[in-house]
Amino acid sequence: MIQTTIELLFQGITLGGLYGVIGAGLALTFGILRVVNLSHGEMITIGAFVAVGLVTVMPALPIALVLVGAFAACALIGGLLQAAFVERAMAFRDPMVPMLVTFGIAVILRNLLVETAGADLRGLDVGGIAQRSFQIGGMSFGALPLVTLVLAVAVFVGLSLLIRRTAFGREVRALSDRPEIAALMGVRVKHVYVKVAALAAGFAALAGVLLAMRASVSPYSGVSYLLVAFEVVVLGGLGSTRGAFAAGVLLGVVQIVSSRFDSNAGLLYVHLTFFAILIVRAISGRLS
């Protein structure tokens, strides 16, 4: 019984770590750019496809380099899109404009991917890591979930250090609080925004690679995780990265534990948990 519970929690926490990473980039764009980035799901998918491409060309590539490659490619795309389109849309006072622009970008990216890569499901097999496992005290743990968790912790610790301990992070925090004053103090607003968008797209790519290794990807997979990403961001507190990690873990554990008792529940209890917490917050007046 204890062994089963430990295995269950392990599965839940590692899945939650993945949800956290999925939400991290969205939390970043939400918190700092104040943009609801609907193309986040596509960045996840593109990251996964870049990884699939890399592994097809170089089958012996270690997982770390696959992750770096996908991160770099998506960061580049995310940065370019921010500089070319989203930045201009942000000039409008209406927050709907950048949201619609990212929606349009999402549709275009998704269809480009279908046209170029095809709608087939792709699996990502990096040195058989997705099937490997190790035993401790009669319990079996997957290697991939562990890698996922380690990476999730690394992403959030790294992000936290970056925001709190570096000059770039200081600019980001300043921009997030009072963009006008930060600009007056000589912060190059657009440069920082592009860097933040690149970082967010890079995190999405990492999530995409992990998803592709865990399951499979098609050009349509990113969209289905957008809802989870939003729940992570809203639960974690808008724009809070540490909160996003905690929220991801909570949702992951809820999903795994609830499906133990009701295998047909799917994401029902995840959404219910989200809903319940929102209600508690509404009652206690801490909704925003």
């Binding site: 089963t4 295995e7 269950l8 599965q11 899945l15 709608a119 087939d120 499901l121 792709r122 699996g123 097999d125 058989g128 997705a130 099937q131 490997r132 496992s133 035993q135 079996s140 743990f141 997957g142 290697a143 991939l144 979930p145 865990r214 399951a215 499979s216 098609s218 997979s221 289905s224 999903q255 795994i256 499906s259 133990r260 295998s263 047909n264 529940a265 799917g266 994401l267 029902l268």
Partner: protein
């Protein structure tokens, strides 16, 4: 009164205009009814989630277009043939739009559809508006019963040809029977109408397994959005199941299969309905797809030939691979056979333009196609021709063009199809 005619009021002018437009709109269809053109409608999943099922259709339709480009001569009379091709986007919603388009606007003489949603949407309309319709690629029970049909009554103008879900389950058991196992089967099913049918305690897999002496470890249904199967897998591991079976799509199977490996469970056999009908879903598993079992409706090794082009199954698949550079898939056979059945029905009707005559043409049809015999005339189930199935396993190809090849391993339900290889246990 006369003044009204010399200077018509605006209202009467509009009325006249509307009448004139209406006459103009109806004129072409009157002209069409008198002509010698047979209109064949097609509604299928050319895009959307079941696009894999319709992926070969545009190619197949091109072959038919070439075949009928100079018209068809039936009973000594030559008819022009017009094909009306519609994409139902794999959606029930859009299928109804397509249905009214084909039935009411285009007024097709015959409608063919390889999609369950499209067959549902077209069915009611076609039966009331007298448009003979032939559907396929859905187990016949899933077509007949949800529409409220019964085997002794059938439907007036809608027909279906395909294997039954019972045959799918029998092919699975024939794979399990060929192996030395502890006869303990772990099952899980996607929670949708097809899944509920397959997990039905009396009609579905549980009953078939029990009859054949297997014990079932049932993990029950799961939601289509599921991305984690660790609970089900640990249940199977604790019960020491040797065999895994059920129903899920390819995007569920990949995480399921990975978690099976992580848990340390090493099954000897695995046969899932729908999960790996297509080579792309097995290719997504990397090295771990060797020996997966599936139902087989058609392969290039079926010993039949097309009644339209005269090609053997092998030649049809070879031409597809040459033209598109892609590996053949099972719908290639049925997608072609659907047109064979349609054209054979037209030839079998006294007057192909008369719906009742064409209806008789289908109901009394017994024809040979590239997927084997399609027999409506002697079928125990009205409006339905039940076709055969064999059991297959995906095998890693030894230096072939494609990573995996589908091999026929059992032919109990269709003895005329040769067995290619023996059933092998999974090697994990």
């Amino acid at each position: 009164m006369t003044q009204g005619w010399t200077s018509p009021s605006r209202r009467s002018f509009l009325r006249l205009g509307a009448a004139a437009t209406a006459t103009g709109l109806f004129a072409p269809s009157i002209a069409r009814a008198a002509s010698n053109t047979i209109k064949i409608g097609y509604a299928g999943p050319l895009s959307g989630i079941r696009a894999d099922f319709g992926a070969t259709d545009e190619w197949s339709i091109q072959a038919i277009k070439n075949h009928v480009k100079n018209g068809l001569t039936l009973n000594g009379k030559t008819y022009d043939v017009e094909l009306v091709i519609r994409d139902n986007r794999s959606e029930l919603q859009h299928s109804s739009t397509v249905a009214s388009d084909l039935v009411l606007r285009e007024r097709c003489n015959l409608i063919l559809t390889p999609d369950g949603d499209a067959a549902m949407a077209i069915g009611e309309l076609a039966d009331t508006r007298k448009v003979p319709t032939i559907s396929s690629m859905v187990p016949w029970q899933a077509w007949l019963f949800p529409r409220g049909g019964t085997p002794d009554k059938g439907f007036p103008y809608t027909f279906h040809f395909f294997a039954g879900s019972d045959a799918v389950l029998n092919t699975f058991v024939s794979i399990f029977n060929a192996l030395d196992t502890n006869k303990n089967v772990g099952t899980l099913f996607l929670d949708n109408p097809a899944g509920q049918g397959l997990m039905h305690p009396q009609m579905g897999l549980p009953a078939v397994l029990e009859q054949s002496g297997y014990t079932q470890t049932a993990a029950g249904p799961f939601q289509i959005t599921s991305n984690d199967f660790s609970n089900q897998v640990s249940m199977f591991r604790d019960a020491e199941t040797n065999i895994l079976s059920g129903f899920m799509y390819a995007n569920h199977f990949v995480p399921f299969w990975n978690q099976v490996a992580q848990s340390g469970l090493s099954p000897k056999a695995c046969a899932m309905a729908a999960a790996f009908l297509f080579p792309s879903s097995v290719n997504a598993l990397g090295d771990r797809g060797d020996g997966l079992g599936t139902e087989v409706w058609w392969t290039p090794n079926f010993p039949f030939e097309s009644s339209v082009t005269g090609q053997s199954a092998k030649a049809l698949a070879a031409q597809w691979e040459e033209d598109t550079g892609q590996q053949w898939t099972q719908p290639l056979g049925y997608g072609h056979a659907m047109w064979e059945v349609g054209l054979a029905a037209l030839a079998n009707a006294a007057d192909p333009l008369d719906p009742d005559s064409l209806r008789e043409g289908i109901a009394t049809l017994n024809t040979d196609t590239i997927v084997g015999p399609v027999d409506f005339a002697n079928s125990p189930v009205k409006s339905t021709a039940i076709t055969g199935l064999v059991a297959g396993q995906w095998r890693k190809s030894a230096g072939g063009k494609y990573p995996y090849e589908l091999k026929i391993v059992d032919n109990e339900l269709m003895p005329q199809v040769p067995v290619e290889e023996e059933v092998v246990p999974l090697s994990l």
